[in-house]
Symmetry: C2
Subunit: 206 residues, 2 copies
């Protein structure tokens, strides 16, 4: 079934709904409502109903949403029913923390390769994986058909590495470098920059 065009801000809320449903499941809940999700997430219930309505009818008037069913539907919509392999580039302090993070695999993202350009890091084992040189990047990405890469390199190297990734067919970059990457419109970039968060919160401080 073809899905309608849905704006990015809606898509970015779907993982939050999924995470909350997983949390409710752990609490032993089998059924929830847009009101409950709204209270827990700090959104309005109307927004949640509208977001979900782009993709179908997932609840019944008066009985709410089945927690497990809605999780499965969200996983289908987000295309995360199967585990996806990904690579990490840049094994500094942050890269090491990410390579050791269990939360990726729990949520269906499997880190399968680490790369760094520093000779002294090549061959090191981090999070059960061996750090490989950048000269291996093309081979590994193409052989394993990797579409997702985590970029944890310094800001001054990030655009150049991103260009390389785009050439190699990577379609999604989780970017930890504190710069705005320039990529073609069919490549997704999701930026993670704590400074942006701190600065935007500072606006609200006295």
């Amino acid at each position: 079934m073809a899905e309608p065009f849905v704006s990015e801000v809606v898509i970015e809320r779907l993982p939050l709904y999924l995470r909350m449903l997983q949390f409710l499941e752990k609490e032993g809940k089998q059924v929830t409502s847009s009101q409950e999700l709204a209270e827990r997430l700090g959104f309005s219930s109307a927004q949640i109903r509208k977001d979900l309505s782009y993709f179908g009818e997932f609840g019944k008037q008066g009985t709410g949403y089945n927690v497990m069913f809605l999780q499965r539907q969200l996983r289908r919509i987000l295309q995360i029913e199967q585990t996806r392999d990904m690579a990490l580039i840049g094994v500094g302090d942050l890269g090491r923390a990410l390579a050791n993070y269990q939360g990726f695999l729990e949520q269906g993202f499997h880190l399968v390769a680490l790369f760094d350009s520093a000779p002294q890091k090549i061959g090191m084992t981090v999070g059960g994986l061996t750090v490989q040189p950048m000269t291996e990047l093309a081979r590994v990405i193409q052989e394993r058909k990797l579409q997702v890469v985590i970029l944890a390199v310094p800001a001054q190297a990030a655009q150049q590495v991103a260009n390389r990734l785009v050439e190699l067919g990577v379609r999604a970059i989780l970017n930890y470098a504190p710069i705005t990457l320039s990529v073609p419109s069919d490549v997704r970039v999701y930026n993670i920059d704590p400074v942006i968060g701190l600065q935007s919160m500072a606006y609200y401080l006295k």
Copy 2:
């Protein structure tokens, strides 16, 4: 001068404008335009002009924006002209990487205290700071009047620690725990969760 109510999505774009202006400054540019900022950031120039117009007139028709002047104005608007002190709670792999990150201080956020609940971590030095026990939290936050805290504790501990921070008067929490925190409306939370990014990008993959 009283500033008008401006929506959160606008405020969250201001640090991106600031970061791009810093980048243009490093490139040696003294003047820029909403068109140039738009191309570099992937926004529309109309949106950039509209966002800035909430706060005043910063450019001249036909001559654009002075790069240094607009940076200073954005720092004033975001209230980041002076360095702000902050604490970090949770010195695991991620917490260590954050404690060692130079980018906070470069952008005006000074990490001054580290806390962890694990006895074996107390007294360790990380990023030049000594890890303190949670029993010192109240004293340090109050003595140093800390309003900003980075939360890098496990998900199951995060809400409880956040409650404590709210009681102690903390007003801004950079939350790395993969849960939606519940806090009063006068406390800001900015969530950093790479899984949310990966899942929302997966929607766009084939």
